[in-house]
Amino acid sequence: MLHVACAAVALALAVAGCQFPADVDGTLDRVRGGTLRVGVTHAPPFVVVRDDREPGGVEARLVERFAARLDADVEWVRGSEAELMGALHGRQLDIVIAGLTRHSPWQREVTLTRPYLTTQWVIAAPDERTADALSEDLEGQVVAVEAHSEIAAKLAEDTDAEVRPVDDIGAASGPKAVPDYLLDDLGLVRTDAELDEHEHAMAVPMGENAFLVELERFLLDSEHEAGRLLEREARP
């Protein structure tokens, strides 16, 4: 029985033309040497959408490189996350970049790639001594955080710190909640208090496994590159 199964798999592979895993809709074959349709939503520093220019940001740069690898042109499509996800689910787009993380609620509609980069939100201090003190105990300490943000909610819920909402986190003084890639630029020292971890990913249509594997191979190869791009793009 095993022999029959093996033979069947081998035959099927031969029929499928050696692409394994294969796409349900042949996305990879269409994109290679053709056009890569990419949905973009403003989510700096990962995706920066400007009216007058091509989209920028870490993910846009990565997608451009991926398109070059496939010898494809990029067609940028702007829209809200919901619009783009609907289009991606309906196979009108090939990739959506929107600063998505692996915790995206779109999991059932689209496929998220493996994370190409992981960032952490931490509480940081202006100097080593304050950082040590904050690592010991956060209770009652005033921590600045960007107003009206997800991380402000996390800070209020998960710690005993006193939340100080500010409009410009870069300009705020004293301890503050920032992503780890801003630490060097802002001259901050991280404490042991980790607020959140974001696994950054892109979205592709479900079932396009050859395309998914090609993209993930590229993302695995680009992990260092992604980190460098982020440091450059995030510079205040």
């Binding site: 798999v9 895993p21 493996r114």
Partner: protein, 333 residues
């Protein structure tokens, strides 16, 4: 007459039963390891959640068997004057229901997937700087999970026929269900690799139907046993051969004119009650005890045989009544 006690298996079967208990412990250890492994590896995937639920359900038959194995030999007491044999029957029902649920779950889950048009995605992983398609790893993991189920199932089938144990048999079917779903999942992964998004769900539905059929069959059997139905073979292939031999012994007893013979399966042992209309009343007590003893000596499975002399058998269903002496019957071979 000896009071019907907690059963002891014949010496040669005692060893087989110990082997079965050991096998079930191994099954549980293996299942728990699989449950833990799946829980920690692929917690967010829907397909793996299914596999996880299946493994949890597979725990039911061996657990039921082991609990029953502990309880079944307890001697009768005032609270449980018939002993604890029925524990086996409850275990059997548990195992059968587990199969039933598993089959139903597979069919419903996969049908929803198929109707929803879910196109499963399997991407890349990196293992020690080595990029590999996750599908290959899934196939390796599934092979690993299928092989022990096949081996355990085969060993259990053999012991089940030796011990004539239904719970063990249902559990062996559960192992069969396990390896078949594993094989279906493998076909599904290969299908996904080939760009056939429906392969996974379609294979699962086919196998779910097979498991559901077993589940319905054994649940029916367990319910029938609990309703004191006429004993059947452990694998549900027809009536138990002992039924006829018991009736024959009663029919061949010279002093029995007519008798209602009722046999029920209380798990792994039979319980026989004979309402006998005697031809005459000479030495009736001795004759009753003697018949009871002869029935008990027939097979180790007959653990309780009550013979009650009655004057008439009114309203007894005709197919329960055995006509005895003086009608001539052929002697047993």
């Amino acid at each position: 007459m000896r009071y019907p006690g907690g059963t002891e298996l014949p010496a040669e079967l005692e060893a087989a039963h110990r082997r079965a208990v050991r096998l079930e412990w191994i099954s549980i250890a293996y299942l728990v390891s699989a449950i833990v492994a799946i829980y920690f590896t692929l917690g967010s995937s829907q397909a793996m959640k299914g596999a996880w639920l299946e493994d949890m359900l597979s725990l039911a038959p061996p657990l039921a068997f082991l609990v029953a194995a502990r309880v079944r030999y307890r001697p009768p007491s005032r609270r449980f004057a018939f002993g604890y044999h029925r524990a086996v029957e409850i275990a059997y029902l548990t195992a059968a229901l587990a199969l039933l649920f598993m089959g139903t779950f597979l069919i419903v889950d996969s049908t929803l997937k198929l109707l929803g048009g879910d196109h499963p995605s399997i991407g890349m992983v990196e293992l020690f700087d080595w990029q590999v398609w996750l599908g290959w790893l899934m196939l390796a993991a599934l092979t690993w999970s299928v092989v022990p189920a096949v081996v355990l199932g085969r060993l259990k089938i053999r012991l089940a026929s030796e011990l004539h144990d239904k719970v063990l048999f249902a559990d062996a079917q559960m192992n069969k269900a396990d390896w078949m779903t594993g094989a279906a999942a493998m076909a599904g992964v290969v299908g996904i690799g080939l760009g056939l998004w429906w392969a996974d769900a379609a294979a699962a539905i086919a196998i779910g139907a097979d498991i559901l059929r077993d589940g319905v069959r054994y649940t029916t059997a367990a319910v029938r046993d609990l309703l004191d139905g006429r004993p059947r073979r452990y694998d549900e292939e027809g009536e138990h051969p002992l039924d006829e031999r018991i009736e024959q012994v009663v029919a061949e007893t010279p002093w029995v004119q007519r008798a209602a013979v009722r046999i029920r399966d209380t798990g792994h042992v039979f319980n026989v009650s004979v309402l006998a209309v005697p031809a005459d009343e000479d030495g009736l007590v001795d004759r009753c005890e003697q018949l009871s003893r002869r029935l008990l000596e027939l097979d180790w499975k007959v653990q309780e045989a009550v013979v009650a002399p009655v004057r008439r058998l009114d309203d007894a269903p005709s197919d329960v009544v055995v006509d005895g002496w003086p009608r001539h019957r052929p002697t047993p071979a």
